[in-house]
Symmetry: C2
Subunit: 257 residues, 2 copies
């Protein structure tokens, strides 16, 4: 697995360098143009990641947000979201992330959450200890003793939930200690650092969730869909709940109903 880690880290160095020139460039994204900064940065970063990963592992598959899948039926497939948190990127926030996950037969086994502006990176997976680099402090490890009544809850935006999903979510966040909206994939990194305890979201695509589960689980947390099933390509429908420990996870699933 260490060769995968080394290749992923090298690829993320290159994608970060591709993204940084487009951050806070002043020209906001324009939906009518294919040449907005976020679109250009998205595409360039995914191209860089694909090229680097295929050079290192010619036999792997690749699924990415911006381009068609490349042999996604391979035993090992990389899943790429070059800029997760487009709105954050557009508005100059350092909570967007580059997400890179590795699937084995559709099951995420290695993940990277990379913030190329603050240069923070969270990663971990099967046989790969939870790891974090960055200059703002923090160390990997979820809160093992927190219960739902003491939990910090976070989700990116109310708009990602249908009314039916929001009714279920209301029970969960109503039982938590505090709620913080916003944060994008960066929130899962903060969960791995033991700073927050529950993230529940919907409408996630494979490139949104593939990287997250291995990072959170390597740090001691639990990630499933809202039915309690482990995340897997073709099974996961976009609803994800990540928590700091197994007992808290059971509480969260019970609250979601």
């Amino acid at each position: 697995m260490l060769a995968w880690v080394a290749a992923a880290e090298a690829a993320l160095e290159a994608s970060g360098a591709a993204i940084r020139p487009y951050f806070r460039t002043g020209t906001l994204a324009d939906d009518k143009s294919d040449e907005s900064p976020v679109t250009v940065a998205d595409r360039k970063a995914e191209q860089v990641l694909r090229a680097a990963l295929l050079a290192a592992f010619p036999d792997c598959g690749i699924i990415g947000e911006e381009f068609p899948p490349h042999r996604p039926d391979q035993k090992y497939t990389w899943v790429i979201d070059p800029i997760d948190g487009t709105r954050a990127f557009i508005t100059g926030r350092t909570t967007f992330c580059t997400l890179l996950g590795l699937l084995e037969y559709g099951v995420p086994v290695l993940g990277f959450i990379d913030q190329p502006i603050t240069r923070e990176r969270f990663w971990g997976g099967r046989g790969v200890p939870a790891s974090f680099t960055g200059g703002f402090g923090g160390k990997m490890g979820t809160r093992q003793n927190v219960t739902l009544a003491g939990a910090e809850f976070s989700a990116t935006a109310p708009e990602m939930f249908t009314p039916a999903q929001m009714a279920r979510l209301d029970r969960l966040k109503g039982a938590a200690k505090r709620v913080y909206w916003g944060g994008d994939a960066y929130s899962y990194g903060l969960l791995a650092l033991g700073q927050i305890d529950v993230v529940a979201e919907c409408s996630l695509k494979p490139w949104d969730w593939a990287a997250l589960a291995p990072v959170v689980e390597a740090a001691g947390g639990v990630v499933t869909d809202w039915q309690g099933r482990k995340l897997k390509l073709g099974v996961t429908e976009g609803d994800v709940v990540a928590t700091a420990n197994a007992a808290l996870h059971a509480e969260a699933l019970a609250a979601l109903g």
Copy 2:
């Protein structure tokens, strides 16, 4: 005004040094304890700011979140929020800010938005050009040509609005191009950088808003309450709307009704 700026910058260097050791320390805030990291950091930072500002200007008044007012009837009064965005601080996010505003007869004339972890600082005021230091890029100046239909809207959390306020806000954010929840006072800095265009919030205290208006206005924006009145101690009731330009502000006030 330059002496005020120099004193404020020196004071913020000291408060940042007081806050940093408590960020992401692993022990989360506990409402039942007066010794949570956020409480300790809050108090220490405000004490440091008060001492530095009173040493530089013995005749000024001081209003702060954590301690009783000190001669708040002075012609010049500093207004301090040592940690604006407590939830952000608790959850390890770099969107909390130290806010420092200077009132002249209750009217904000100079403001600082300081992020001590990323070491970004936005400031400006009467006779003080809009200024920004930080390592992530961006330059001061609001978007002068954006209309509401093209505007990026942001607010910290849906929970800060009453149902009646939310009904008014729904018209505003419904007319904007995109919505981003989260961000705390840092959002006003991003507005000054031309990254977002409208922030509308409620339930703000004087220490929340005093620093924001001078920064945004120095950068070319407009800040009033939801009735269109300039912010002033004793007048402002906690509802604030900040926009990138005067025409957009008129649109925003009309949408708020």
